[in-house]
C-alpha cells in the first residue's frame, strides 16, 4: 500500500510565446496552436541546470507535504535531458536537498519517466519509506541544437515536477499501475548526445493514440471500472490534439483531462507532475488516472483513489 502525499512543481520565469518562435522557425503562431495547442512555454536560462529545476520542484513538494528531507527514504529522478552521461542528476539533486546519504536512482527516461517513477516508487515505499519522485527537463537546450526543426522546437519547454509517495497516508491511495515498453520503436523518437532530437511524429502519434487508451482500459478493467467513472485524468502533456484524441477513444469528456499544455508546452517527463501539482484537487473516493507515453517506447497508467 502506498499513498500520494503531495505534489510540487517549478517552471523557469522566462516565458517564450509563439510570436518569439515565428521568425526563428519560419512558422506562424496560429499554426503552432492548431497543431499542438501550445501558446507559450518556459525556457531556463543558461545558468539553470536540470538539477536546479529538480531541486526547486522537490522543495515545493516537500513544503506542501510538510515533510523534512531527512524523512525521505529514497529519491528517484527522471530526466531525458540531463547534461551528461553520468552521474545522472539524482544524487546531486538529493545532496542539494540535504539528503546526502539517502539512496537516489536515476531514470534516464523522457516523457514516461515520471509515471514509471511513481509506479516503481509505490512498490519501493514499503521498503524505503517515503519516496520522492522528481522529473526535470531542460528541453530548450536540446531543441536549440542545429539544425532547428520547427516540428519539435515548437513543442518543448523546461520545467520540473515532484511527487512524494508515502507508505502510510496521503491525499490518494495508489491502487494499481500498468507499465509497458517496446524497444522496436526506439529509433522513432530518440535523443543522441550532442545531436538534435529526432521525432517521427506520425509514428509517435499513431502509436500513442492506440497504446494510451489501451493501457488505461487494461488497468481499469482489472478493477471493473469504466473510463466514464474516472473523475480526472492527469496525462503527460504531449500535445493537446493527442489528449483530445485519447479522451475521444475512451469516450470520456475532454474536460476530464486536465490540461496546462497551452502555458508550458511539452515538458517531457516533468509535464504530468506539473499538471498534477497545479490540479491538486483530490476528493475522497474519487478515482484519478495518470497516464504517459514516450520515447522507448515506454507507456503506462496508474490508478489512484482519493482518501
Amino acid at each position: 500500500m502506498a499513498f500520494l502525499r503531495a505534489f510540487g512543481s517549478y517552471v523557469p520565469s522566462r516565458i517564450v510565446g509563439n510570436p518569439e518562435l515565428e521568425a526563428l522557425l519560419g512558422c506562424d503562431s496560429d499554426w503552432i496552436v492548431s497543431v499542438s495547442g501550445i501558446s507559450e512555454r518556459r525556457y531556463a536560462d543558461d545558468t539553470e541546470s536540470v538539477v536546479d529545476l529538480a531541486v526547486n520542484a522537490a522543495t515545493d513538494c516537500l513544503s506542501r507535504a510538510r515533510v523534512q528531507p531527512s524523512d525521505v527514504g529514497l529519491v528517484i529522478v527522471a530526466s531525458g535531458s540531463a547534461g551528461r552521461r553520468f552521474p545522472g542528476p539524482a544524487a546531486e539533486t538529493a545532496s542539494r536537498l540535504g539528503m546526502a546519504g539517502t539512496p537516489s536512482i536515476d531514470l534516464p527516461m523522457a516523457s514516461a519517466g515520471s509515471l514509471f517513477g511513481m509506479a516503481i516508487g509505490a512498490q519501493l515505499a514499503a521498503l524505503h519509506g517515503r519516496v520522492l519522485v522528481i522529473a526535470a527537463e531542460k528541453m530548450s537546450a536540446v531543441i536549440s541544437r542545429p539544425p532547428l526543426d520547427r516540428n519539435t522546437a515548437i513543442l518543448f519547454g523546461d520545467g520540473a515536477g515532484a511527487c512524494l509517495i508515502d507508505p502510510k497516508d496521503g491525499v490518494a491511495e495508489i491502487i494499481d499501475s500498468s507499465l509497458h515498453s517496446d524497444g522496436s520503436f526506439a529509433h522513432n523518437l530518440l535523443l543522441e548526445f550532442d545531436q538534435p532530437i529526432h521525432m517521427d511524429g506520425r509514428v509517435v502519434i499513431l502509436q500513442a493514440s492506440r497504446k494510451v487508451p489501451a493501457v488505461i482500459r487494461e488497468l481499469l478493467d482489472r478493477h471493473q471500472r469504466p473510463a466514464s467513472s474516472i473523475a480526472t485524468f492527469l496525462m503527460h502533456q504531449a500535445n493537446q490534439n493527442l489528449i483530445t484524441r485519447i479522451a475521444q477513444a475512451l469516450e470520456v469528456a475532454p474536460e476530464k483531462f486536465y490540461s496546462n499544455i497551452a502555458r508550458y508546452g511539452n515538458t517531457s517527463s516533468a509535464s504530468m507532475l506539473i499538471a498534477a501539482s497545479e490540479w491538486n484537487a483530490f476528493r475522497k473516493d474519487e478515482p484519478v488516472v495518470f497516464a504517459a507515453f514516450g520515447a522507448g517506447f515506454h507507456w503506462g497508467a496508474l490508478l489512484a483513489l482519493g482518501t
Partner: protein, 78 residues
C-alpha cells in the same frame, strides 16, 4: 479482392477532402491526411473491413496511399 473504391470512401469520410486520383500518391504529401487523421482513418478501416490492425503494423508507411492500404488489406482481410 479489396475494392479501392471502398478504401477511397473511408479515406474521404475521415479526411473530408477529395483524395488524389492516383492510388500510388501519398495521402500525407498530398495533404489529405495529417498525423492526427491517420489513427482515425485506420480506425475507420478496421470498422469497414472488420479487422484489428496490430500495434506492430501501425506504421504510417503501410497506410501512406490507397494502393498501400489495398495491399495491406488484401493480406489481412479474409
Amino acid at each position: 479482392m479489396i475494392s479501392q473504391e471502398r478504401i477511397r470512401a473511408v479515406v474521404e469520410k475521415v479526411a473530408q477532402k477529395p483524395i488524389p486520383a492516383d492510388p500510388e500518391e501519398s495521402l500525407f504529401e498530398s495533404g489529405v491526411l495529417d498525423s492526427f487523421a491517420l489513427p482515425d482513418m485506420i480506425g475507420e478501416l478496421e470498422k469497414e473491413f472488420h479487422l484489428k490492425v496490430p500495434d506492430a503494423d501501425l506504421t504510417p508507411r503501410k497506410f501512406d496511399s490507397v494502393a498501400r492500404i489495398a495491399d495491406y488489406l488484401s493480406v489481412h482481410v479474409s
